[in-house]
C-alpha cells in the first residue's frame, strides 16, 4: 500500500489509519506525490496491478468485484481466490467513539455535498 496526499503529518496520519483499520503488510509513504505523479494517479482508492516482468496490467479496480476480476486476470483463472462480496468487509469498530475515529480517517466520509 502507498499512502498519498496527507498534506501534513503524513506518517502520523497513516499510522493512525492503519492501526484503526487493522492494516497489515507493507505500507510506503509517498509524501511528495512522486509515485502518483509518475503514474498519473488522480484519485483514491486506486489499485495498480503489476505483472512479473514489471508491466502495469491494470489501474483502478476499486470495488470488490472489480478487484477480484483484476486479480484473477493477473494471477490466471485457476488462482485460488475467495469470491468478492458486494459490500466487502470494512472492519467497522463497534464503539461509537471509535467509529467516529474511523469515519474521520476512512477515506470516504459520509459527506452531504
Amino acid at each position: 500500500m502507498v499512502d498519498v496526499w496527507e498534506g501534513t503529518g503524513a506518517f502520523a496520519e497513516a499510522r493512525t489509519f492503519c492501526k484503526l483499520w487493522g492494516v497489515e503488510g507493507t505500507v510506503l509513504v509517498d509524501e511528495a506525490g512522486e509515485l502518483v505523479e509518475r503514474l498519473g494517479i488522480r484519485g483514491v482508492p486506486t489499485n495498480i496491478f503489476v505483472d512479473a516482468d514489471g508491466t502495469v496490467t491494470a489501474i483502478g479496480a476499486s470495488t470488490p468485484r472489480e478487484l477480484e476480476a483484476a486479480v484473477r486476470e493477473l494471477l490466471g483463472p485457476d488462482a485460488p481466490l475467495e469470491e468478492a462480496t458486494p459490500t466487502g468487509d470494512w472492519h467497522w469498530q463497534t464503539d461509537p467513539d471509535r467509529i467516529g475515529e474511523q469515519l474521520s480517517v476512512r477515506g470516504n466520509r459520509p459527506t452531504g455535498s
Binding site: E6, G43, I48, S104, T111
Partner: protein, 397 residues
C-alpha cells in the same frame, strides 16, 4: 502537486467567461483565463463544440470536502476539514480572501440564503458552526449528535437537517432560532441529507448501514427504509419528479429511487468512488465527484455519462453556481484545492463518454524509492520485481 493558476483574471471571471476564447488566444503570460479546455473528442467524438472548460484551480486548505456558493455575494465557501476552517474565495479573482476558523473537521457546508448565514458540520466537535457571511466569523454553534457529516437546508420549512454519523441520528435545527428542535433515529453512518419539499419528505443516507431513512417532515417519523449498495454518501433530489439519486461510494454506482413509489428504479455505474453529487439546475443532469478518478462526471438522469471533467486530486463535494448555471465548483481533497469548471453541454452528446485505458497500462512500473511507514527506511518498488503484485494507493482521509 497541482500547478495552480491562482491570481487575478484581467476583467474578472464573469467577463472572462463572456469572452473566453478570445482571451485565451491573447492572454499575456501569467494571466491565463483557462488552464484546460475539454476537447470535444472526450464527449462526442465528432468534434462539435466543447464538453467542458476549466476556469481555474485555487488552493484553499487541507482536505477540502464541502463547497457552496453564497447566492447574495457569489462568494465560494469551502469547508477544509483538516484545516478546521472555511476558506472564502472571491469568484472574480479566484483567490482566498478570508479564512474562518470553525470547529473540528468541518465536512459539509450549506447556505441559508434567506439570512445569508453559512453552516458547517463540524464532525469532530459534534456541532454546527453558524457563520455570519457579512462579518466573516462564527456567530453561534449548535450542538448536534455525534460526528455530524451531512447538511441540508429546507429554506421554506426554515429547517436545517444534519446527519449524525456516529450517533445514528438526524438532527433537526430551527434555522431562525438556531436551536436543535428534534432528533430522528436514523442508522449508523447517517450523513448526507436531502429534502423533497413537495412531498414534505426528508431522506437521510446511512453510510455504514448502507441504507436510506425516509422521514416525514411534519411528524419527523421514519416512514420507510431502503437498503442501498455499499458506502452511500451523497444524495440529490429532482425537484419536479421527486426522484432521488444517491452516490454509493464503495460500489461506484448512483442509485435512482422513484420519488412516487419509493422503490429502487436503477443502479447506474460511475467511474470510481463517487463521493460528491448534485443535481444540475436544468434538471436534466447530475454532477458526480469521482474521488477515485480525479474527475467530475456529467451524467444524464438515465445514467449515461455525457462528459467527464478532469479536476484536482481526489475530488469530493461538487456544486453548481446558482448565479452562473453550468459553472461547477469542485472540492479536491487530495490537492487541497477547488476547481472551477464550466459544463458546456446543452444536452446529451451524440456519443457518450467511452471507457479509456489508463495511459500507464502496458508500460513499465517506474522505479521509485519511498519510506516505509513503520521503519522509515527507504524501499524501492523494484524489490518486488519478478513477482506479480498489486499496489493500493490510499489516503487516510
Amino acid at each position: 502537486m497541482t500547478a495552480l493558476r491562482e491570481g487575478p483574471l484581467e476583467d474578472g471571471l464573469s467577463a472572462a467567461l463572456d469572452d473566453l476564447d478570445a482571451r485565451s488566444e491573447t492572454a499575456t503570460s501569467g494571466e491565463p483565463a483557462v488552464i484546460e479546455s475539454g476537447p470535444s473528442c472526450r464527449v462526442d467524438g465528432a468534434g462539435e463544440g466543447r464538453g467542458y472548460r476549466i476556469l481555474g484551480e485555487v488552493e484553499v486548505g487541507l482536505d477540502p470536502e464541502g463547497v457552496v456558493v453564497h447566492g447574495a455575494t457569489g462568494r465560494i465557501y469551502v469547508a477544509c476539514s483538516r484545516s478546521n476552517s472555511v476558506a472564502v474565495v472571491d469568484p472574480d479573482r479566484l483567490r482566498v480572501i478570508e479564512t474562518i476558523p470553525v470547529g473540528g473537521e468541518p465536512i459539509d457546508i450549506v447556505v441559508d440564503e434567506r439570512t445569508g448565514r453559512v453552516f458547517t458540520a463540524d464532525a469532530r466537535s459534534d456541532q454546527l458552526s453558524v457563520i455570519d457571511a457579512a462579518a466573516a466569523k462564527v456567530v453561534a454553534t449548535i450542538g448536534v449528535g455525534s460526528y455530524p457529516a451531512g447538511l441540508c437546508v429546507d429554506e421554506e420549512g426554515r429547517r436545517l437537517y444534519a446527519g449524525d454519523a456516529a450517533g445514528s441520528t438526524m438532527s433537526v435545527v430551527d434555522l431562525d432560532r438556531l436551536e436543535r428542535i428534534g432528533v430522528v433515529d436514523a442508522e449508523l453512518g447517517a450523513g448526507a441529507v436531502a429534502v423533497d419539499p413537495r412531498a414534505r419528505r426528508v431522506y437521510c443516507v446511512n453510510f455504514i448501514a448502507s441504507s436510506v431513512s425516509i422521514v416525514d417532515a411534519g411528524s419527523l417519523e421514519v416512514t420507510a427504509r431502503l437498503p442501498l449498495l455499499a458506502g452511500p454518501c451523497a444524495i440529490a433530489v429532482h425537484q419536479e419528479s421527486g426522484d432521488v439519486f444517491i452516490a454509493d461510494s464503495l460500489a461506484s454506482t448512483i442509485t435512482r429511487i422513484d420519488g412516487r413509489t419509493i422503490e429502487k428504479a436503477a443502479e447506474m455505474a460511475v467511474p470510481n468512488a463517487p463521493v460528491g453529487l448534485s443535481m444540475g439546475s436544468r434538471g436534466d443532469r447530475l454532477y458526480v465527484g469521482n474521488r477515485g478518478d480525479g474527475t467530475v462526471s456529467v451524467m444524464g438522469l438515465d445514467g449515461t455519462e455525457w462528459s467527464r471533467i478532469p479536476v484536482g486530486a481526489a475530488p469530493g463535494g461538487v456544486c453548481e453556481d446558482p448565479l452562473h448555471p453550468g459553472r461547477l465548483l469542485v472540492a479536491n481533497a487530495g490537492s487541497g484545492t477547488i476547481t472551477v469548471a464550466e459544463d458546456l453541454l446543452d444536452g446529451p452528446p451524440t456519443t457518450p463518454v467511452a471507457a479509456e485505458r489508463h495511459p500507464m497500462v502496458g508500460k513499465k512500473m517506474p522505479s521509485v524509492s519511498l519510506p516505509d511507514l513503520w521503519t522509515e527506511q527507504l524501499r524501492d518498488l523494484g524489490e518486488w520485481a519478478g513477482r506479480k503484485y498489486v499496489v493500493n494507493v490510499f489516503a487516510s482521509w
